[in-house]
Amino acid sequence: MTLPLLLASVAACHRVRISDLANLAKVIGEFLTLSLFSFGGGNTLLAEYHHLSVEQFCWLTNSQFADLYALAEAAPGPSSMIVGLLGLGAGWPEGPFWALISAYGAEVAILLPSTLVMVVACLSWRRLEHSPWRIAFERGLGPITLGILFAVGLKILRTADVTRAGQLSLPGVVVSIVVCVLMLRTRISPLWFMACAGVLGGLGLINR
């Protein structure tokens, strides 16, 4: 990274240090709240994660966020574990110890509230199942999830397929759209798409 760019990013955004306990409490509070709003699976929160870690707390650059999203998608296990990676990024300048504490802390914060709700839901499902609240909730949630997922898709596209100067990378957009169509039309494992695109990138065909 060139020096002017580095200076620009420092000037634009003040990095929030999580080794300061007041900051840490604020960050944990944000994740605890988001946990209760992660309807429609974990991926609906991706744009919020970007907002927190890139724009509000300034732990990561745009491209780092995109990298971590790809890493979480490629690795085995639920992709919502990206929160652990964000925590890792938040604590990284403070050293590996803080980074890991922060990573596990972030993951616990994002999972704990939804887990408690889920336990209550399981134990009271017999009463909830035929309640009009449950039916309205389930039907109403669908269209909202649909809107959120499109917004998340666009946000990730705008995060991933841009050059460091902030301009849209045309080859990147083309690859994204091709992968999107293949995801919908075929049952090929997405790992293959990432591997092929990685080769294209390594050859210098996709720049950022």
């Binding site: 974990g42 929160l45 991706l46 744009a47 907002h51 491209s63 780092q64 995109a66 999203y69 790809a70 998608e73 690795a75 085995p76 296990g77 639920p78 574990m81 652990g84 980074a99 890991l100 990573a103 993951e107 999972l111 939804s114 709700v117 889920m118 336990v119 839901a121 399981c122 134990l123 009271s124 499902w125 009009p132 449950r134 039916i135 309205a136 039907r139 109403g140 669908g142 269209p143 909202i144 999830t145 649909l146 809107g147 959120i148 998340v152 898709g153 990730i156 596209l157 397929d161 990147g172 690859v175 992968v179 999107c180 995801m183 695109a197 990685g198 990138g201 390594g202 996709i206 950022r208």
Partner: protein
């Protein structure tokens, strides 16, 4: 068991469960699901191990669990693990199940994360990642289209989705207030009424 009373005793939600796992068995079972699903297909593995191999639940009970897991906040597969644990052993079962499900993949991911932060500034790595990221963005873009079909015949659903999309993507509003406003409106519209059950 009386209807509607669910207390933290074994088989609290599943009155006719064939087998009641212990904490240790829950942990091992979920660990097995997580390890089996390393190539993908977490949901299918979960069903195979919980229903077919270990016979903790009937298929019907498992599908009810999936419905509950999708309905409430949280990642679906993690919620499913919580549901399975809570069904048998309440809160402690849920936590044990959750730990079994995420411990190995999460630790692995943290290893990858540490590796990433150590090497990502190398130009060769960055070039490869520029490509991988474009593919991952394509996956993210496909999520909305995947569930679009089921709403195509419901203009109100499409309008709601469009408003939520516009508020988030172009209005730059945050997710929590958008859900707090759009949620009650959507629930009021979809409140079960006679004569409009089909929607």
């Amino acid at each position: 068991m009386k209807t509607g009373s669910c207390r933290p005793i074994p088989t609290l939600c599943m009155t006719d469960s064939p087998q009641t796992p212990t904490h240790r068995q829950l942990f091992v079972g979920m660990l097995q699901v997580a390890l089996s699903a390393f190539g993908g297909g977490l949901s299918a593995w979960s069903q195979r191990i919980v229903v077919e191999q270990r016979r903790w639940m009937s298929n019907e009970q498992f599908l009810t669990g999936l419905t509950v897991a999708r309905l409430f906040p949280g990642p679906n597969q993690i919620n499913m693990a919580v549901y399975i644990g809570a069904s048998f052993l309440g809160l402690s079962g849920a936590l044990v199940s959750l730990a079994g499900m995420v411990l190995v993949p999460f630790t692995l991911l943290m290893g990858l994360g540490v590796l990433y932060f150590s090497v990502h500034e190398l130009p060769a790595i960055d070039r490869v990642l520029a490509g991988v990221v474009a593919a991952a963005a394509g996956m993210a873009l496909s999520m909305g289209f995947k569930i679009l079909d089921q709403y195509l015949k419901d203009p109100v659903a499409l309008l709601l989705a469009a408003l939520v999309f516009g508020a988030l993507a172009f209005g730059h509003l945050r997710l929590v207030p958008v859900i707090l406003v759009s949620g009650p409106i959507a629930m009021a519209w979809y409140w079960p009424r006679r004569g409009r059950q089909g929607s």
